[in-house]
């Protein structure tokens, strides 16, 4: 398979369908669908999506669900042909309640329903036990948001993610902190797999860069009061405070930092890089820096429209919708390229895919992690996230970037 970016493929397919009924797909594998030359048969392909749709993280779960939904609606509108059949994708979205046990039940349900691939799960804690079940059934799984490095270290061939893992992102953030002159750093995490993982990697990178970690404080992902830990932080006189956790806590935390008179800079990961954060932090959001894997959404060819499309349909993006969208698109593109919806057939294609997603280039390394994915840092300026700089990703970006240019013209 040649390395073609998504849009090129999609556009060319769209054109192909409009102009000549089923031009390019005509030479299909001879065996099953050979009898369908004139009216192309329609097949329904189920794609699973699992995330918490109830409970405290339901807003994020629904966001993933919507991202995948949008991708599937767009692909259905295109009327894709795979193996000579008109393909209608159907999203099977299940609530895993962010509970590992429910996660495995949901995974088994997906397997039972013979989904062609799975988008999810949202949390690392559900993704890891579920991946065992998908692996046993040979179903590829692309998580839009699980960041625990262990997920892809289990040796499962079908386990992918379109999100930088904790190690990748924590490193970039730690190096950035040191580079911008942070000498005394305080670190807070929310004691979730995500927050703690990110904070630990950040700490490693910051220490390696020569910064002094003056305090390590902890909260929970359900907390709203951070004044006592922030008071301890204040006593240590840091010049930068890093928070590993989600926006629901990061917002109030930034606000409380301000009210306690802490002047240190506030730095967060992708969990904090949301519109929600700015609303929750209020005036304290100004100047806060947070990272997000991938390239800036509004600066990329092909992803300009995404925000508008998504927002007009489902309301504001929480955090991971673009990644869920990309995960779904990647999965479908692999099916199209392999000309098969059979997991065993398109999985090798998926593993080698290189495409331009709305969040950045998507290409997997041998484990299933993003290969050299860029990570962008954003700063809040006048109540909006502004791209500050993009770190890393040269290799993948250069491999993918030249390609779209000719296709676009």
């Amino acid at each position: 398979m040649s390395r073609r970016p998504a849009l090129g493929v999609i556009l060319s397919f769209a054109f192909a369908f409009i102009l000549a009924a089923c031009g390019k797909e005509a030479p299909p594998p001879p065996a099953p669908k050979a009898e369908a030359p004139k009216p192309p048969p329609e097949i329904t392909v189920k794609i699973g999506q699992a995330s918490p749709l109830t409970g405290p993280q339901a807003h994020l779960g629904k966001d993933n669900d919507n991202g995948a939904r949008l991708a599937i609606e767009e692909m259905n509108a295109k009327g894709l042909m795979i193996a000579g059949a008109k393909v209608k994708f159907e999203l099977m979205s299940e609530d895993d309640q962010a509970d590992p046990k429910t996660g495995t039940i949901v995974a088994q349900k997906m397997v039972d329903a013979k989904v062609a691939g799975v988008i999810g799960h949202l949390n690392s804690g559900t993704t890891i036990p579920a991946s065992k079940i998908y692996n046993d059934a040979g179903i590829p799984q692309v998580s839009p948001s699980a960041t625990n490095p262990k997920y892809t270290e289990q040796g499962y061939k079908g386990a992918f993610r379109v999100m930088a893992n904790d190690v990748q992102q924590g490193k970039v953030l730690g190096e950035y902190a040191v580079k911008t002159g942070a000498k005394r750093i305080a670190i807070i995490d929310d004691r979730t797999a995500y927050g703690q993982g990110l904070a630990d990697e950040f700490e490693k990178a910051a220490k390696a860069g020569g910064a002094n970690v003056v305090g390590r404080e902890f909260t929970s992902d359900k907390a709203t009061d951070f004044r006592s830990i922030l008071t301890s932080v204040k006593a240590k006189k840091p010049d930068l405070v890093f928070y590993g956790g989600m926006d629901g806590q990061a917002g109030p935390m930034a606000a409380q930092m301000k009210s306690l008179g802490i002047k240190a800079r506030f730095l967060g990961g992708d969990g904090a890089q949301s519109a929600e954060f700015i609303k929750l932090a209020g005036p304290a959001a100004e100047g806060v820096i947070a990272s997000s894997p991938g390239l800036p959404l509004d600066k990329m060819p092909g992803s300009k429209g995404f925000t508008e499309k998504f927002t007009s349909k489902y309301g504001p993006i929480q955090i991971y919708a673009p990644y869920a969208y990309d995960a779904t698109m990647t999965l479908i593109e692999a099916m199209v390229k392999a000309d098969s919806v059979v997991p065993a057939k398109y999985l090798p294609v998926l593993a080698k895919i290189t495409r331009q997603g709305v969040t950045g280039p998507v290409a997997f390394d041998e484990k299933g992690d993003l290969r050299n994915s860029p990570i962008t840092l954003y700063v809040v300026k006048e109540g909006k996230w502004d791209a500050l700089e993009t770190v890393g990703g040269e290799a993948a970006a250069s491999a993918a970037a030249p390609a779209p240019a000719p296709d676009k013209k």
Binding site: L53, T54, K62, S93, E94, D95, A98, D99, P100, K101, T104, I105, V106, Q108, K109, V111, D112, A113, N123, S124, G125, I128, P129, K132, D136, N148, K150, Q154, R191, T192, A193, G195, Q196, G197, F218
Partner: protein, 373 residues
């Protein structure tokens, strides 16, 4: 009707065929469920069995001894982590299942006594809050014991836990037996079934033992029980220890079954759900507790079909099933309790105690406080 049932229960002409039919049903269940509903339901059935063990453990504490425990999941967690840490690459230790399970039960037992000892003087809701605190303390330690020395691996959880293996027979592989293929989930189902039956047996024997009667005596009136010569301290500790050991066993099974444990499986909500199973089914009554478990584990899963159901009934999905699922679940909790305040299938003995005859004090509004304290 209940009278007939009592009579029927003692009639061998009914009991044996019913027993055999039930046994066959339980043995055939994975095949039937897989064929009719999908393999996810075999997994759900396995979880039902796991929760039966848990609920019967809590039933000893809450149902028999009348001690309201809101932190029961702690023992489940202890059992699960004990197995996970000693049978995974985390420490590089891989102890066999047959050793870990009883040891896990014993460790949970010790934790049960540790919890029980300081709470002996507490009653009712004070006990509830202390047990709740205990459950949270255990969870917080699991979350945080990754530094300075990494014991539990913190929030990241323990992964790649060894599947349960009996000698050379690994449950994590499909086996063929008499020409029938048994996938992984089936193997776990049968193992859980065997252990559940054992737990039910132990529970039944305990209920009618001297200790069981002592528990009930304490539940009904602690002062009177002490006056009758029951050593309330030891008997209460025994209740905590026994209940905890059941939790430890199911925890170990859970870890082996899932292959991954992390602290988020052991939240207070889990404790509350197990308590709901016990109370909703019928405290202190084994068949009732089992019924409660079956209902509360299956209901949220069954409610996933709300979407397809709407499709079938009115042709389109009006309300998102994800929105409705837990809402209906909450509603069901309320309705069942309103319709059957002593549980869906309460024990005969307890029902007699609560009936209008006899003790008038238990009949009036005061009994809200009096019963069980």
């Amino acid at each position: 009707m209940t009278g007939d049932w009592e009579k029927l229960k003692r009639d061998p002409r009914f009991v044996w065929p019913a027993f055999i039919a039930l046994a066959l049903l339980l043995l055939a269940l994975p095949f039937v469920a897989d064929w009719a509903l999908g393999r996810a339901w075999v997994r759900i059935a396995a979880f039902v069995l796991l929760y039966v063990m848990l609920a019967l453990g809590l039933n000893i504490v809450v149902g028999y001894a009348g001690l309201l425990d809101l932190g029961y999941v702690a023992f489940f967690a202890v059992g699960a982590y004990f197995y996970a840490l000693l049978a995974s690459p985390h420490f590089g230790v891989h102890l066999p299942f047959w050793l870990l399970l009883p040891l896990g039960a014993a460790v949970a037992c010790v934790f049960g006594v540790l919890l029980g000892a300081p709470t002996l003087r507490l009653r009712g809701d004070y006990l509830a809050i202390v047990t709740l605190g205990f459950g949270e303390i255990i969870r917080i330690f699991l979350v945080n014991l990754n530094a300075p020395v990494n014991i539990t691996n913190g929030p990241q959880g323990v992964n790649l836990i060894d599947p349960i293996r009996l000698g050379d027979f690994s449950l994590a592989q499909a086996h063929a037996f008499l020409g029938i293929s048994f996938p992984t989930v089936y193997n776990y189902y049968y193992l859980f079934l065997a252990l559940t039956l054992f737990v039910i047996f132990v529970s039944m024997r305990l209920e009618h033992s001297r200790i069981g009667r002592a528990w009930v005596a304490i539940r009904e009136d602690e002062v009177a029980a002490a006056a009758m010569g029951i050593n309330t301290r030891n008997v209460k500790l025994l209740a905590f220890a026994m209940g905890a050991s059941f939790g430890g066993v199911s925890g170990g099974l859970f870890a082996g079954f899932q292959g991954f444990v992390s602290p988020e499986s052991f939240t207070i909500i889990e404790s509350i759900m197990i308590l709901c199973m016990v109370v909703l089914g019928g405290m202190g009554h084994i068949p009732g507790v089992i019924l409660g478990v079956v209902l509360l584990v299956i209901l949220p899963e069954a409610l996933r079909y709300l979407g397809p159901l709407q499709q079938w009934l009115i042709g389109r999905v009006l309300a998102d099933p994800a929105d409705l699922r837990l809402l209906v679940f909450g509603l069901a909790l309320i309705l069942v309790m309103l319709l059957r305040p002593s549980g869906m299938w309460p024990s005969q003995v307890r029902r007699r105690e609560l009936s209008a005859t006899g003790n008038p004090a238990r009949n009036g509004p005061t009994s809200v406080r009096d019963a069980g304290e």
